[in-house]
Amino acid sequence: MTAATYDLGVIGGGVVGSTLALFAARGGLRTVILDRGPLCREASGVNAGTLTLQMTRVALIPHAMRAHAMWASARDWLGHDVGVVVCDGLSLAFTEREAALLEERAGKRREAGAPIRIVGRDEARRIEPGVSDKILLAGHCAIDGYANAYLTGQAFRAALIDAGVTVLENRAVTGLDRNHGGFVAETAEGPVRFKRVVLAGGVWIEPMMRWLGIHLPIKTLVNQLSVTERIRPVMRTVVGIASGLLSLKQYPHGTVVIGGGWQGLGDRERGGVELVPDRLIGNIRLACHAIPELASARLARAWAGLEAETADALPAAGPIPGIDDAYVCGSIHSGYTSGPAIAKLMAEMILGREPDLPLFPIDRLLKADTP
C-alpha cells in the first residue's frame, strides 16, 4: 500500500481548476494540479476575456458579480495582473424584436441582482460614442469589463507555485482509480496519489467522469474569435447585442477582439480545428454594424476555442454522487467570467466551510439508471 502524497488532486488546469487549487492550498491542503498541457491554454487562455453580466445566465448573476470583483482585484488575491479593465457594458438592440428580447433578458438579470438598465439611443451614444446610430435601445451595465485571457496561465502558474501547489503541466491523466481510501491518477510518467479529487476538465469532464463509471454528457461548443490589428481608439466599452451573439472590445494596445460564440468546426478530441469563413464574416458584419468605425481595421488573426455546456447550460459544480471525496467543477456557461467565484466556493466546501452561494450539484444531470 502506498499512502496518498497529496490531500487534494485537481485534474484540469484551467481557470476553474487553478482557482480551486489555489484556495485549497491556501486553506492548508497539500494540493497537486495536473493538466495534459500547460495551464490555462484551452478555453481559459483563448476565450474573448469578456467579464460581462449581459451574457451571463440568470442563475449565475450573483456568482458572476462576485467573480467580476475578483478579476478586478486580481493583483490582491492572485498577485499577478491579467490585464483586467473595468468599464461600462452595452447590449444593443437594432430591431423591435431585439428590443423586446433585450427588455425581457435585462429584466430577468436585473431581478437576479445585475445593475442593468435600458437606455435610449442618445444616452447609449453618450456612454459609447463609437456605437452605431441605428440602434433602438441598449442595455447598460456599469459592471462590465475584460481581461487579457492569454495572460491567465502565466498569472495562475506563478500564484500556484507561490502557494505551494505542485503544478504538473504536460502531464496527461489517463485513468483514475480508487485506492486505499484515496485516488490514484495514472499518467505516462507514473501514478499520482491523493485523498480527494476534483475533476475540473471543462469539455473534458465527460471523459473524466467515465473514469468513475458515470455518464455526464457535456456538449462541446466551438466558439470562433477574431482580432484586428492595432488601430486608433474606436470604442471604450464592452459591446454586445440582445441575442448575446456578439462581444466586442478594444484593448489598451489598440487591437479589437470580436467574439460572440459563432460556431466553428471541431470537437473535444481535436480541439477547434477549423473556422467557417461565412460565420466569421457574419460575426464581423455584426461587429461593424455595431461599431461602424471598426470597418477600417484589418483582420489579423482568428481562432476557435472550446466551451463546455451541460444539458441545462448550468455548471457542473458539486460532489460526485456515490463516490466519497470526489468532486466535479466546471462546464460553467461563460466560465471565464464566473469561474473564479464558483471554484472558490467549491474550495470552501472541500475545506469544510459552508459556501455562501449555491453550488450546482450534478444529480440533476445524471440519468436515474446510472450505476
Binding site: 445566465r57 502565466q154 448575446g244
Partner: protein, 475 residues
C-alpha cells in the same frame, strides 16, 4: 458563388506553376492562385511592364518560358488574389480586385514559397536595413537600387546575386560580409559543380564583384547597425562556422542600406492550418510537412511542393511541382499507373540530379544556432510587438515550455505577420533556453487569415436583416 474545380494550386512560383501545368495537361480543371499579379514567385519573378529590362540570366529565361507555357495552358489563373482562408477538404477564400471569391476542390497543392530569415542584431529594425529577398525584388522587378552605398551581408548564394545585381545596375557595394569562410565554400564545391550552369552563374557574380574591387569579408557577420533615424553605419566582425562571434578586428562601413539575409524559412501556412503532420528539418529551413516522394501530405488530397515544403531552390521546386501535379491527376483517376510513372520519371531524374547542388546551397542557408545564441538581450526579436530576446528568455524562466505558451506570456508573434518573421528565431531561443531540441518547442499554431485582410473588404455589402444570426444563448 463558389467556383468548383478539380484542383486548386496555391502559389504561382516555379513549384505551383509546374504543378498546375502537370495537372491541367492530365485533364484536371485547375485554378491557380497567387497574391502577385503575374506568375513567377520570388525566384522567377516577372519584371514590371514598361521598364524595358533586358531578359538575361537563367532565372529570367526560365521564368519567361514558364509564363508562356502557362498562357497557352487554359489554366484559370486568379492572380492578384490574397487567399486569407484555407479550410475544409478543400476550400480557399480569397480577396481580389472584384471582392471576395471562394474556391473548392477535392485536391489542393500548397506551393506557397518561403520567406527570408533575418537573425536579429542591434539596429536591424532601422530604416535602410532590408532583406536580400527584398533587395532582389527591387533589382529584378523594379530595376531600383536598395541604396546609394550598400553593405550586403548574411549567408548563402543570394549574397553574391544581390551584390552583382547592384554592381550591374551601377550601384556601389561598400562591402560583402559572408558568414561562411572560404573553406566552407570549398567544401561545397563538389556539390555546386554538379550544376555547372548555375556554378557558372555564381562565378559570373564573383567576377563582377572582384572587378568592382568590393571588399569581400569571408567568415564575417554584422555586429550591429547604427544610425539616428536611418541606417548610417554597420560594424562587421569575424564569426565562426556555427555563426558565433569570435575575436578579431571589427570593421566599420558607412552606408545608407544594408541588404541582409540568413537563409529562408518555408512558408507552409496551408498545411499547418489544415493540421497536416510536420517534421523539423534544419537543413531544409525548419518545420516542413511530411510528404511522400510525390509531395502527398498526411491528409488525403493535400500536396505540398517547392520552398514552402522545404527549402530546395527554384529548379528542384519546379520538378517537385510537376510531381505533385501528376500525383494529383493520378489520385483523381485521370492518369493510369503507367502514364503516371512515365511522366513522373523525368522529374524524378531532375530532382535527383539537383540534390547535391541543392544540399550545398541549403547548408549555407540553414539556421546557425550559435548565431541565435549570440543575440544580445535587449535586441528586439518580434518587431510587430516589440518583444526582446530578454523577454523571451524571461518567459521560459517563468515556465513557458513551448512556443505557443511563450507567445501567450509575451505577445511575441501576435502581430500582423502572425510570427512569420520571428517564429524560427523565437522557437530557437526557447529551445536553447530550455536546453531541448526544436521538436520539443513546436511551432506557432497557424491561424487564418493567412495574410491580414481589410474588414471592409470582408464585409462586402450587406443588410443587417440578412446576417444569419444564430438563435440566442439560453437565459
Amino acid at each position: 458563388v463558389i467556383r468548383k474545380a478539380d484542383l486548386l494550386v496555391l502559389g504561382a512560383g516555379p513549384a505551383g506553376c509546374h504543378a498546375a501545368l502537370a495537372g491541367a495537361e492530365a485533364g484536371l480543371d485547375v485554378v491557380l492562385l497567387d497574391e502577385q499579379d503575374t506568375a513567377g514567385g520570388q525566384g522567377w519573378r516577372a519584371p514590371l511592364a514598361g521598364l524595358g529590362m533586358a531578359r538575361k540570366g537563367a532565372d529570367a529565361l526560365a521564368g519567361d518560358a514558364m509564363r508562356q507555357r502557362l498562357a497557352r495552358s487554359g489554366i484559370e489563373c486568379r492572380f492578384g488574389r490574397r487567399v486569407w482562408s484555407v479550410g475544409g477538404r478543400f476550400r480557399l477564400d480569397a480577396m481580389g480586385p472584384d471582392g471576395a471569391e471562394a474556391f473548392e476542390a477535392e485536391r489542393l497543392i500548397a506551393a506557397t514559397g518561403a520567406h527570408e530569415r533575418v537573425v536579429p542584431f542591434p539596429g536591424w529594425t532601422l530604416p535602410g536595413v532590408i532583406g536580400l529577398a527584398g533587395a532582389t525584388v527591387l533589382l529584378k522587378a523594379q530595376a531600383v537600387l536598395p541604396g546609394k552605398r550598400v553593405v550586403v551581408a548574411g549567408a548563402g548564394p543570394l549574397l553574391f546575386a544581390v551584390a552583382a545585381g547592384i554592381i550591374a545596375k551601377g550601384g556601389e557595394v561598400a562591402a560583402i560580409a559572408d558568414m561562411d569562410g572560404r573553406l566552407a565554400w570549398m567544401k561545397r564545391l563538389p556539390g555546386l559543380a554538379r550544376r555547372l550552369d548555375l556554378l557558372r552563374e555564381g562565378l559570373g557574380w564573383s567576377l563582377s564583384i572582384l572587378g568592382a574591387r568590393v571588399p569581400l569579408l569571408a567568415g564575417h557577420g554584422i555586429r550591429r547597425a547604427l544610425g539616428e533615424n536611418q541606417l548610417e553605419t554597420v560594424v562587421i566582425g569575424p564569426v565562426d562556422g556555427a555563426g558565433a562571434p569570435v575575436g578579431g578586428a571589427e570593421r566599420t562601413f558607412d552606408c545608407d542600406a544594408l541588404a541582409i539575409g540568413h537563409g529562408l524559412v518555408p512558408g507552409g501556412e496551408a498545411p499547418k492550418i489544415l493540421r497536416a503532420a510536420h517534421v523539423f528539418d534544419r537543413q531544409r529551413g525548419g518545420w516542413v510537412p511530411t510528404r511522400d516522394a510525390y509531395g502527398r501530405c498526411s491528409i488525403a488530397g493535400l500536396y505540398a511542393c517547392g520552398d514552402g515544403a522545404g527549402i530546395a531552390g527554384a529548379r528542384p521546386s519546379a520538378a517537385a511541382g510537376t510531381l505533385a501535379g501528376l500525383a494529383a491527376a493520378h489520385d483523381a483517376g485521370r492518369l493510369n499507373q503507367a502514364s503516371f510513372a512515365a511522366l513522373a520519371e523525368p522529374a524524378i531524374q531532375q530532382l535527383s540530379a539537383y540534390r547535391p547542388f541543392a544540399a550545398a546551397v541549403t547548408e549555407a542557408m540553414a539556421l546557425r544556432g550559435a548565431q541565435v545564441a549570440a543575440i544580445p538581450p535587449e535586441t528586439v526579436v518580434c518587431r510587430c510587438e516589440d518583444v526582446t530576446r530578454a523577454e523571451i528568455d524571461a518567459a521560459v524562466d517563468a515556465g513557458a515550455t513551448d512556443i505557443n505558451q511563450m507567445k501567450h506570456f509575451t505577445r511575441c508573434g501576435m502581430g500582423p505577420c502572425q510570427g512569420r518573421m520571428c517564429g524560427d528565431i523565437a522557437a530557437e531561443l526557447v529551445a536553447q533556453r530550455r536546453g531541448v531540441g526544436r521538436e520539443a518547442v513546436g511551432f506557432w499554431t497557424q491561424r487564418v487569415p493567412l495574410r491580414p485582410v481589410a474588414l471592409d473588404q470582408l464585409l462586402g455589402r450587406f443588410d443587417y436583416a440578412d446576417i444569419p444570426i444564430p438563435p440566442p444563448a439560453p437565459l
